[in-house]
């Protein structure tokens, strides 16, 4: 300060204040000033974390659990989901889901991201660039589609999978994302779904169940040994999913703030509680806690806390994680055997039931001070009914459209591989490759 003469300093001060005033006066620049560097930095990281959940997270998690002859094909389904859904998202998915707030669907204003520039923001996330919001939401669409395939592992024709997943994205995911997150009718009703209990987990879960029923059981199901190829891959996948979930739930706060951290804390605790609960049940009922059980419990906890993570107190994550472990274990064992469906990788048992349970529990444990909505524990019992409504709509829409889609795709190309191809394995029959 002593270096400048007082007159020079005065001139600089004057020039600066004039510049500042004109900056504030110009609307475009005023909008830019809403974009927050901290929020943007965090959301870029969160986007990367969620993409990592699909590749290689889900790819490893799923592949480790199928038989050797289908490992590569299972990974191919995750890869294909990334590649196709990303492009479709940019073409029209983002626009229809998140631009415009009609009750049923958005608009095509952002067809191929038209009009999106350096300064645009989406009203849902004003402190980050619109392109980042679009990219973040893209990673959610990708993983939801990739999840569904788990139910029909070991038997779906690759061409059928591609057609089906594109159709499922367009007719199930995009509308549902709009209804819950894009300002559609479920949002208007007050349905709480912080990071995708309905939009991601329940929709994928019921879609998977319907697909498993429509496509039928794997050959040899119930009699043949179908033990996992390499559970260590599944464990690695679980780790990537777990860490990635910090971006999935934490990033759904769309800001680098306390709410994000609360969500992450609840998420992490739910995973821990879920793993311990499932392990404990197995220890008690089968004398040994299995590794598959612990990772399944962790993922169950993670899926279940997802819709509630930004609305509940962090310690609720423990309670929700325990419930997840109990309920999802029951669904993957008793329920599956009772209704005798071959949901190969338990997408319904873990994600479907978990998403449903978590959505309802969000209505129970929501704390006004954290997420702006009160739940049952704060006297607002009606929230549980609102959540139930969201669950019902998701079940009917995803279940029904999945069924119709499978029937339509099945006319164009057989959904299953032939028996010979199934015996030979999908790696060889669909991709011409084999693990050595």
């Amino acid at each position: 300060m002593g270096v400048l003469s007082s007159r020079a300093a005065a001139k600089i001060a004057a020039a600066t204040s004039v510049a500042a005033t004109s900056a504030l006066a110009t609307p475009a620049l005023a909008e830019t000033s809403a974009i927050n560097a901290a929020d943007t930095a965090w959301m870029i990281v969160a986007t990367a974390l969620v993409l990592m959940m699909t590749i290689p997270g889900l790819a490893l998690f799923y592949s480790g659990m199928v038989r050797k002859k289908n490992v590569l094909a299972t990974m191919a389904q995750s890869l294909a989901a990334v590649a196709t859904i990303s492009i479709l998202w940019v073409m029209f998915g983002y626009s229809l889901a998140f631009v415009g707030d009609g009750p049923w669907l958005g608009t095509l204003d952002r067809w191929f991201l038209a009009g999106m520039d350096m300064d645009s923001v989406n009203p849902a996330a004003r402190t980050i660039p619109e392109s980042l919001f679009m990219l973040y939401q893209m990673t959610f669409a990708i993983i939801t589609v990739a999840l569904v395939a788990g139910s029909v592992a070991d038997r779906m024709r690759f061409s059928a999978y591609l057609l089906f997943s594109i159709g499922w994205f367009v007719f199930v995911y995009v509308p549902l994302a709009h209804w819950v997150w894009g300002g559609g009718f479920l949002a208007s009703m007050g349905v709480l779904d912080f990071a995708g209990g309905l939009v991601v987990h329940l929709s994928a879960g019921i879609g998977g169940l319907v697909a498993a029923k429509v496509m039928g059981r794997r050959h040899g199901y119930g009699s043949e040994n179908m033990s996992p190829f390499d559970l260590s891959l599944a464990v690695l996948g679980t780790g990537l999913l777990w860490v990635g979930w910090f971006g999935f739930n934490g990033g759904s706060a769309l800001a680098a703030n306390s709410r994000a951290v609360m969500a992450i804390t609840a998420t992490h605790l739910a995973a821990c509680a879920g793993a311990l609960t499932w392990g404990a049940i197995e220890w008690a009922t089968r004398r040994k806690p299995s590794v598959l059980g612990m990772i399944s419990g962790a993922v169950a906890g993670l899926g279940t806390i997802t819709p509630a993570s930004g609305f509940v107190a962090p310690w609720h994550g423990i309670v929700i994680g325990v419930v997840a472990g109990l309920v999802c274990f029951w669904a993957c064992t008793w329920l599956k055997h009772r209704f005798d469906y071959d949901d190969s990788l338990d997408v319904f048992g873990v994600h479907g039931i978990g998403g449903m349970t978590g959505t309802l529990l969000a209505g129970v444990f929501a704390v006004n001070a954290i997420g702006g909505t009160a739940g049952l524990i704060e006297g607002h019992a009606r929230q549980v009914l609102i959540q139930l409504y969201g669950v019902a709509v998701t079940l009917v829409w995803s279940g029904g459209v999945t069924y119709a889609l499978l029937k339509i795709v099945g006319v164009l190309v057989p959904l299953r591989v032939s028996l010979q191809q199934e015996l030979e394995g999908l790696d060889i029959s669909q991709h011409g490759e084999a693990l050595q």
């Binding site: 659990m65 040994n225 179908m226 033990s227 996992p228 089968r286 299995s290 598959l292 059980g293 399944s296 993957c332 064992t333 008793w334 599956k336 055997h337 338990d346 048992g349």
Partner: protein
């Protein structure tokens, strides 16, 4: 010449190899195999699915020896591979018609 084939428990390989080296047998072929005899398998449970696994991992050792030391080789394998528990394995001895060392062309006993 005799071909001595032994199915043994995998962790016994080193002991068997050392014992055979001690009696002058300096080569062998080892394969990883699965099998069962009187040893029962085990049950694996993956979420809701239970599988009884009958086949257990074993090692198959093959050595070609002069007929005179075949019995000694069988004895040595038996004592080094035994644990006393069910599933220790079996040894089979079959005659060899011809043998040839590929590099030098030596035949029969010179090839062993």
């Amino acid at each position: 010449m005799k071909l001595v084939v032994a199915i043994i428990k995998p962790f016994k390989l080193d002991e068997v190899r050392q014992a055979l080296t001690a009696i002058g047998v300096h080569g062998m072929t080892v394969t990883e195999v699965k099998g069962y005899g009187r040893q029962k398998g085990h049950t694996e449970i993956y979420r809701g699915a239970e599988y009884v696994v009958n086949f257990l991992p074993k090692l198959r050792i093959e050595i070609a020896v002069a007929s005179e030391i075949a019995d000694r080789a069988v004895e040595v394998i038996t004592s080094s591979a035994r644990t006393g528990q069910i599933g220790d394995g079996k040894i089979f001895v079959t005659p060899i018609d011809h043998a040839k060392r590929i590099r030098t062309g030596e035949t029969d006993s010179d090839a062993l």
